[in-house]
């Protein structure tokens, strides 16, 4: 198993906390015909970080940088959860027992399943533990 296959490039965008910033990001991606699978906003006083999973990460990053956003790739993993009670617990338990810290996470509920996106402190170890214990990790190529 190649752990790298499961490392997904999430786009992180720094955004001042003022009206129209998210619209500017969304418009830029629309112009490039880039589809957003999932996103979240982490907010703090005065600024926020917008995190996006998209189908064309490289062009998306370039476009956002070109129009002046401060952007970077962040490695995350995505894991399919059972869309039923206990689905999140199954995943969180593995990480907790492996002493892997979740730095942040967000989820989306798609047609086929619920998906949890995670940024963890030791990504390769997290992938090994989770695949080893039968968790259904999504490969990066599924997002392309």
């Amino acid at each position: 198993m190649e752990t790298d296959d499961y490392i997904i490039k999430q786009i992180s965008v720094f955004s001042e906390n003022k009206p129209g910033r998210l619209a500017a990001i969304a418009k830029a991606l629309q112009d490039e015909k880039i589809n957003i699978f999932a996103f979240s906003i982490a907010e703090a006083k005065g600024f926020g970080v917008v995190r996006l999973l998209v189908d064309k990460p490289e062009p998306a990053l370039k476009k956002l940088a070109d129009i002046g956003f401060m952007v970077s790739f962040t490695d995350v993993i995505a894991v399919r959860m059972k869309d039923e009670p206990g689905g999140l617990f199954d995943i969180a338990k593995i990480l907790g027992e492996s002493e892997i810290n979740i730095e942040y996470s967000y989820a989306y509920s798609g047609k086929e399943a619920a998906v949890l996106i995670l940024r963890v402190d030791r990504i390769k170890e997290a992938i090994e533990k989770m695949t080893g214990r039968g968790a259904d990790l999504l490969k990066a190529e599924m997002f392309l």
């Binding site: 999430q10 992180s12 720094f14 955004s15 001042e16 982490a42 907010e43 703090a44 005065g46 600024f47 926020g48 970080v49 995190r51 002046g68 956003f69 401060m70 952007v71 970077s72 962040t74 730095e103 942040y104 940024r119």
Partner: protein, 432 residues
Amino acid sequence: MKWDPRIEEMPAEQLAELQYKRMKTLVYRLYSFSDFYHRRMKENRVHPDDIRSLDDVTKLPFMYKSDLRDNYPDKIFTASQDELVRYHVSSGTTGKPTVVGYTQNDLELWTTSLARGLTACGLGRGDVMQVSYGYGLFTGGLGLHYGAERIGATVVPTSVGNTERQIELMQDLRVTAIACTPSYMVHMGEVAEKMGVSIEKDTNLKTAVLGAEPWSEQMRTHIQNEMGIRAYNIFGTSEISGPMFCDCAEQNGIHIWGDMAYTEIIDPETGEQLQPGEKGELVMTILQKEALPMIRYRIGDITSLDTSLCACGRTHPRIDRLQGRVDDMLIIRGINVFPSQVEHALLGIPEVSGHFMIIVDKKGALDEMLVQVEMNPGAFSDKVQDIMEIRTKVSHILRNSLNISVGVELAAPGTLPRFEGKAKRVIDRRLN
């Protein structure tokens, strides 16, 4: 090497005695022979007899740039036209131009001051100095020209412009020293590089005497390292003759020749004299000028005074690198704050860039200062906590440097205003 060791190493008490005598003579002369000074002193109820020590100088009224403008072109000159041998005229960017007249002795004084300064920078006979300051009404070109000739250096009077030819001449005439603005020095380095010339390897340049615009210690380090030269800081303004005083080899402050000038640092708000080491407005009395003496002239630059003995052995006081203009000063909750202090503090923080804005507002009765600064893209982490830590770091460093707490807002690169020419980095909403 010292140009005039007897004066330059004169014990401090002796120097103070000399200053006092010259100050006294100057004040008597002006009170007796100048309508302007006579009236100004009367208005301030001070008589030359009141000056019984150097400390009494604080009784004398200040002079301002506006005194020169209001008396354009030569109404407060204390020499008649037939005694003058030269005029210089400063550009009138902020109003009418100002005119400075010089007698033969005035030029002699100026030239002597520069001869001492250039010698302190290690220059002398055998050096070839390219003077790339403007020649003409501006004081830089002719001032350095005569100073360099006085010490026996060979002058190449290139003036400004035609940079490629300047670099060719620098090579052909084996120039060892240059006098110009720091930004022109950097520009020359860039043009030389495009020509395939390395200032360090392909020229004999060893020394640069740079001034006439504000520059930072970081810029000095950059110039010295890039070009393999020593870069000295020179200070002056046309009202006190022109470029007049410079660093010595220690590069630890600009020596102000005490026999020529009496230097004070004052609080620009109250006018009170400050102690050595305290930051405030530079005020100078040029003790021996004939055509246009200036008593307690408020130069408007912010610096501090160091009266300790310099490692070079010169006893004359030094001023620190200029840290901004009084016109730029903000008073926040009673504390004086200069945009240059903010800039200086930010330059030392790798996570942010030098692009910043200061916004001052009132929150209730209290002043609030907000610094917006662009992050360096390399410092961007997608963890909110990391960004907050950068903000806290910037805020702590600013607090330590300014002695007041300021809000900090991090901005994305390229989002804050860019300025051509003089930057307007302060928005003061208290004035609305």
